[in-house]
Amino acid sequence: MKGLLQRDVNQETFTLNLGPQHPATHGVLRVKLEMDGEYIVEAEPVLGYIHRMHEKMGENRTWAKFLPNCGRMDYLSAMSYNHGYVATVERAAGIEVPERAEYIRVITVELNRISSHLLWFGAFVLDLGGFTPLLYAFDDREQILDLLESVTGSRLTYCYFRFGGVYNDIDDSFIAGTREFIKRLRKRMPMYDALVTKNIILIKRLKDIGFITKDMARRYGATGPVARGSGIDFDVRKHEPYSVYPEFDFDIPVYEEGDSMARYMVRMDEIEQSMRIIEQALDKLPGGEIKPKKAVKMVKPEKGDYYCAVEAARGSFGIRIVSDGTNTPYRMKLRSPTYSNLSLFGEAAKGMLLPDALALMGSLDLVIPEIDR
């Protein structure tokens, strides 16, 4: 009869292992918590349970062969990661992309962003103990997956972009389906607002709880909705424009409060903004080729150091590539947004109650394979 019963009951704090198998960590993340009752004295995220060495993998295969890996990092917004990689390589090798392909990229990336935010919305409310919104969000997300499946052939880990274009052209049924879906989601969003956003229990759990200050977000390099929820007006799409984003009219939702509610609102607003971008892109969609005129055969970028960042659903995703002029990268470094966003959890969760800290963790929108890479 050992264990808790015979321990020294006078000890001030105790260690609680949250994970790696815990419903709230959304995957194999382990958080070592030093607790005083239900208050968190110290929180230390422990990473690496599903590290797959994507960066090393990138260094020992040709440039094109790394493409499928991108979708396996953040499986919820795989398009953005594909986009980040092809954009970097195109910049390095000086490949021109036809305009239609860029538009198709924007449409699919934004659709993917909506699906990622919808899934986050469901999972976040699930973290707070409400099970039902998850299934409604999945219902909507399913429509996006169907749309993307019809054009890319896969539902989750897309490998749709190619150097200099995209793999497949979109057809009229995809365009009609996307318009239909946007109409449908516009009808559903007020329902989510009425049932979840305005729910008094939810407001009490999120408002003025889980603060991430502007300074903290800067120090840890937080990006994406986490930074924008803390009042940092930064979105790669607007501030370091890439692809054809400058041609669209959209807003960057920024909330000054820095609490869990602010991050929630940022994401809900971003769904609306993404819908605006898609609508404009569908209206303006130019004709023409989706692949460069001269087929890209063997990519061999000039010797040099290249970096390109894109705005993924969780923040700024950047790839730094060092090329030595051969057909494999010399060095590849992936900068994934959730890694930085998670790093601030230890500081932000200090002194919080366990359920509030889990709400904070949920509002960071963690995808573990992307942290571990």
Binding site: P23, G129, F131, T132, L135, Y136, K204
Partner: protein
């Protein structure tokens, strides 16, 4: 009827009632949750998935009763029973119909509350005996939650007892005879805050039975399975049955105290066996309507934060119920003919 036969019949009825309720409320809950979430719910085992509870039961029973390392074997095994047994005992005094009641004693209400308090002890012992930190946190939460919510619940009950001058449940129901507006819920002439009392009582019974949005004892997204984390097979199954039995008791009490128990909404009563069935029909209708509300709430709302839960009780429910108590006392004193 000879005493022994009565006891045996009662035990058979209550055990099967509690067991069937636990089994089929789970089915209702899963089916209800399914429809609320635009799914179908269980449908494979039997027609409409009606045999699913039996399959679940068989699964739980065939599981090994594994004792994890470090648990206190006695507390660990006794705890589920301490949740289950008081709940079953409470059925003893619940009048399903005027003459269909295990024991028509004059302190029935008191007895139910006495047994209801044992429930939390079972959860606490179970969580402490599991030697699991998540379970201990859940146990501690559970105790403070129950202490906080028993007070407004009892104060509200005292209001009713003051009105009816009796703790006999049958007596309380009889005082609500006649049309449906004679039910306590509608009796604004006795106490202006009667609907509020009903609400307080119902919320408290949700909290007492650890149901969503107050399910601190389980809190699956925070504490894995809370107090039940380490329980295998039927250990968990008995806890589960106890929980559902407690929901039935809580809803039955709400129906008895505020919605006229077995009284029909119109002044129509029958004698003999038909009368028993008529009473049971109305009682079960009210009971299951309330239980459905409980299920509905669970699948609609997120969980409250723990301190919000305590604040709600200490800062809102207790003052209101105290005020209500004084108001009712005044009304009874000033208008004694009502």
């Amino acid at each position: 009827m000879p005493e022994l036969l009565r006891v045996i019949l009662f035990i058979i009825f209550v055990l099967s009632f509690a067991g069937l309720n636990a089994a089929y409320l789970v089915w209702c809950e899963r089916k209800g949750a399914g429809h609320i979430q635009r799914r179908i719910g269980p449908k494979e085992v039997g027609p409409y998935g009606l045999l699913q509870p039996l399959a679940d039961g068989a699964k739980l029973m065939t599981k090994q009763l594994f004792l994890p390392k470090g648990v206190d074997p006695v507390l660990f095994m006794v705890a589920p029973l301490m949740v289950m047994v008081p709940a079953i005992m409470s059925f003893l005094v619940i009048p399903f119909s005027e003459s269909f009641v295990g024991r028509d004693i004059n302190i029935g209400l008191l007895m139910i509350f006495a047994f209801a308090s044992v429930n939390v002890l079972g959860l606490l012992l179970g969580s402490w005996g599991s030697a699991n930190k998540y379970a201990v946190i859940a146990g501690a939460r559970c105790v403070s939650q129950n202490v906080a919510y028993e007070i407004p619940m009892l104060i509200t009950t005292i209001t009713i007892v003051m009105v009816t001058n009796s703790m006999n449940l049958n007596e309380i129901i009889r005082s609500q005879a006649g049309w449906f507006f004679h039910w306590h819920f509608f009796r604004l002439d006795i106490s202006l805050l009667m609907p509020v009392s009903f609400l307080i009582f119902f919320v408290c019974s949700l909290a007492e039975t650890n149901r969503a949005p107050f399910d601190m004892a389980e809190a699956e997204s925070e504490l894995i399975a809370g107090a039940y984390t380490e329980y295998p097979g039927m250990g968990f199954g008995v806890f589960f049955m106890g929980e559902y039995a407690n929901i039935v008791i809580g809803c039955a009490l709400t129906a008895i105290l505020f919605l006229g128990g077995w009284q029909a909404p119109i002044p129509l009563n029958f004698g003999g066996f038909l009368g028993v069935l008529w009473g049971m029909f109305w009682f079960f209708l009210k009971l299951y309507a309330l239980i459905f509300t409980v299920i509905w709430i669970r699948w609609t709302y997120p969980r409250t934060q723990f301190y919000e839960l305590l604040n709600l009780s200490w800062k809102v429910l207790i003052p209101i119920s105290l005020f209500n108590l004084i108001l009712t006392a005044l009304q009874i004193k000033i208008f004694p003919w009502l």
